[in-house]
């Protein structure tokens, strides 16, 4: 194992998959000559050439659709959205074409495509550039959605996404590109199956269910809670769809309490689905109502203080945990 950044981990995943399969190509705005708006594709143009690392005009709907068409006839495109806030321009292709083709064609055309890019609120980008899109896409049958929080998960999940025979969205955490973590050496194949959660920290008093940018938040809060003698278990979903509900149930069966901390909106959000599944399966095991910490139900404001207030943060999560623990 060695320590690399989340950005490097994604870069390694791309390079390894491009190397392994000549049908894989990377396309998006500024992915080639600019090396990616977030430098995720640094060095790939030089290594794989302009045939496979392709800059596009600013036409998300156009190049997302181009990728789907290429996938229909056997290529395995990786389409980068500069941010998933811009994927909304391509919503028709991602939602109406990619996941529907297999059903509409009676099983003749599956779409092996990866859509990837940063997702979720970052720092003071304002309402248009701060969308957490996971609940929008996870509700669409035919799509798979994963949300890596660590360099290791980013590499393993992206590689698994590229090899999947269905449309997969890899929602990278915009705020975590420079974060570091331990990852297997490059000569060791690292694949993390879609739909497998991971307990990032064991605990016995309360389960904190989290994903993407809320994972480091939950881990930090768990360390603080330890000082107050509350032992929190951190369950990182890693994938939103398929959802590893069993991992969630296993944890809550042990702790009997749950707080869900999500980066998206509360109304019809990811946490709402998880709550439903917990109460349906573990009603008698719960010692307290499930609590959710999500975005406030408002467009994200630019002002730093207001933005902090609107997003999930340590204070809110701490208060939530204490509430379900009656502490």
């Amino acid at each position: 194992m060695r320590e690399i950044t989340y950005r490097q981990a994604l870069n390694e995943a791309l390079a390894e998959e491009l190397e392994r399969d000549p049908n894989v190509f990377l396309m998006g705005e500024e992915v080639a000559e600019y090396h990616g708006a977030y430098k995720v594709s640094a060095g790939l143009l030089e290594r794989f050439g302009p045939k496979r690392i392709i800059d596009t005009p600013i036409s998300e709907n156009g190049f997302a659709g181009l990728g789907i068409g290429a996938a229909m006839v056997g290529l395995r495109p990786i389409i980068e959205f500069m941010t998933f806030s811009f994927s909304l321009v391509a919503f028709d292709q991602v939602v109406n074409n990619a996941p529907n083709m297999f059903m509409m064609s009676g099983g003749q055309f599956n779409i092996p495509i990866t859509f990837r890019g940063p997702n979720g609120p970052a720092h003071q980008l304002g309402a248009t550039h701060s969308h957490a899109t996971e609940n929008l896409f996870a509700s669409v049958p035919g799509l798979k959605v994963c949300t890596p929080a660590t360099p290791r998960d980013a590499k393993g999940l992206l590689k698994a996404a590229v090899r999947d025979d269905n449309p997969v969205l890899v929602l990278e955490a915009e705020l975590l590109y420079s974060s570091k973590g331990m990852v297997e050496p490059p000569d060791e194949e690292l694949l993390i199956p879609l739909g497998q959660a991971e307990v990032k920290r064991e605990g016995s008093d309360v389960s904190i269910i989290c994903y993407a940018q809320t994972v480091p938040l939950a881990l930090a809060v768990a360390a603080q809670l330890e000082e107050e003698d509350i032992s929190a278990e951190i369950v990182d979903l890693r994938s939103i769809k398929p959802l590893d509900e069993q991992a969630v149930f296993n944890s809550i069966a042990k702790t009997h309490r749950a707080v869900i901390v999500e980066q998206d909106r509360a109304f019809c959000g990811v946490g709402a689905e998880i709550c439903y599944r917990i109460q349906k399966n573990l009603f008698d095991a719960l010692d307290a109502p499930i609590l959710r910490v999500s975005q406030e139900d408002v467009p994200i404001p630019y002002n730093e203080r207001l933005e902090k207030f609107v997003l999930p943060n340590a204070d809110k999560l701490m208060a939530g945990v204490k509430k379900v623990c009656y502490a």
Binding site: F25, K51, T56, P57, S59, N61, G62, F63, A64, G65, L66, G67, I68, G69, A70, A71, M72, V73, G74, L75, P77, D92, Q93, N96, N97, M101, F102, M103, M104, S105, G106, G107, Q108, F109, N110, P141, G142, K144, D165, N166, G195, K241, P242
Partner: protein
């Protein structure tokens, strides 16, 4: 220019007759409530797709919008598989899961059947991109209506197609109306072909009521693309005799206008050309028509007697090669309607 061996014109006339009789029978079956959803008929436009397929190879890619029955038939999908699809049966070309607007036939290189206006033009760009990527000399034919040319996806796709110099023939089937809105009321240009100019794509206007003109023009274009990949645009002027869909009485146009086009009927025209040249007798024509009618009547019987997919099978068509929720069997990709039929037996 190397000329492709042209498909026999009598055979192509038979195909036009099959399309017409198929659509007439579909209309009747729709009124008898055997067909659900929306149903858009191609009657009047037969020379467009027939002329186009006569100009390409069997392994060239074809993709179209929702008025797609004729494109599948022209590609070689059986009338049985097409009618069964309209009936929602498991023997349909999309196993009864796509319906009228979503005909697919992988084996015959028919890539749909797409019902969001303009949304398949980027797909065509991707298919042609793949041909170029692999160094193949395939050509992609992308059909769309006059209504599609004002969609954003159309414009984004045309720019990408021109920018990457992709081997696509963009075929605008201009039947003068996007649903009930005439081109005059929808499009700022005097002629649609000028859209291509804005993207530096060569464009031409073709008489879509004349099979030979469509075939010859496309043969020339496709031959040029095969030698040296590039995009092309054709505005093929045609006319649909029926309304936009089955529920449309087409009150936005006059009887006189419709009659004018009926007199220029593409089937009558090719028949007259062939008769004049001594290549077809009246008896032979009647035989062709009789055969088309019989094929279509048989397809209705086939569709009626075909099974539907069992309801629990619906979960098999969400994710390929592994289902998301436990307990659902992994789906296998079907290569063709024949596979689909076999799988239900």
């Amino acid at each position: 220019m190397q000329r492709l061996e042209q498909r026999d014109e009598v055979e192509m006339l038979a195909l036009m007759l099959l399309i017409r009789r198929f659509e007439e029978r579909a209309s009747q079956q729709y009124q008898a409530q055997k067909i659900g959803g929306f149903c858009h008929l191609y009657i009047g436009q037969e020379a467009v797709v027939t002329g186009a397929v006569a100009a390409v190879r069997e392994d060239d890619y074809i993709i179209t919008a929702y008025r797609d029955h004729a494109h599948a038939l022209a590609r070689g999908t059986s009338a049985n598989a097409c009618m069964a699809e309209l009936f929602g049966k498991a023997t349909g070309c999309s196993r009864g899961l796509g319906g009228s607007m979503h005909f697919f036939d992988r084996q015959n290189h028919m890539y749909g059947g797409h019902a969001i206006v303009g949304a398949h033009v980027p797909l065509a760009a991707g298919m042609a991109f793949a041909s170029r990527y692999r160094g193949e000399d395939r050509v992609t034919l992308c059909f769309f209506g006059d209504g599609a040319i004002n969609q954003g996806s159309f414009h984004e796709a045309l720019n990408l197609i021109a920018l990457y110099n992709l081997p696509v023939v963009l075929i605008c089937e201009n039947n003068l109306f996007a649903m009930g809105t005439s081109v005059k009321r929808s499009t700022s240009l005097k002629q649609i072909v000028d859209r291509a100019e804005g993207y530096d794509i060569p464009g031409e206007i073709v008489d879509g009521m004349n099979f030979r003109e469509v075939r010859d023009k496309l043969t020339e274009i496709v031959g040029s693309i095969r030698k040296d990949p590039h995009p092309a645009f054709v505005e093929i002027r045609t006319y649909r005799y029926r309304g936009h869909s089955m529920s449309d009485p087409a009150s936005y146009r006059t009887k006189e206008e419709l009659e004018k086009y009926r007199l220029d009927d593409p089937i009558t025209r090719l028949r007259a050309q062939l008769t004049r040249e001594g290549k077809l007798t009246n008896e032979q024509f009647d035989q062709l028509d009789k055969k088309a009618k019989e094929t279509v009547i048989a397809s209705v019987k086939f569709a009626e007697s075909s099974p539907e997919l069992p309801v629990e099978k619906v979960y098999d068509y969400v994710y390929f090669n592994g289902a998301v929720e436990a307990g659902v069997s992994p789906a296998k990709r079907q290569e063709s309607a024949a596979d689909a039929a076999a799988a239900t037996e």
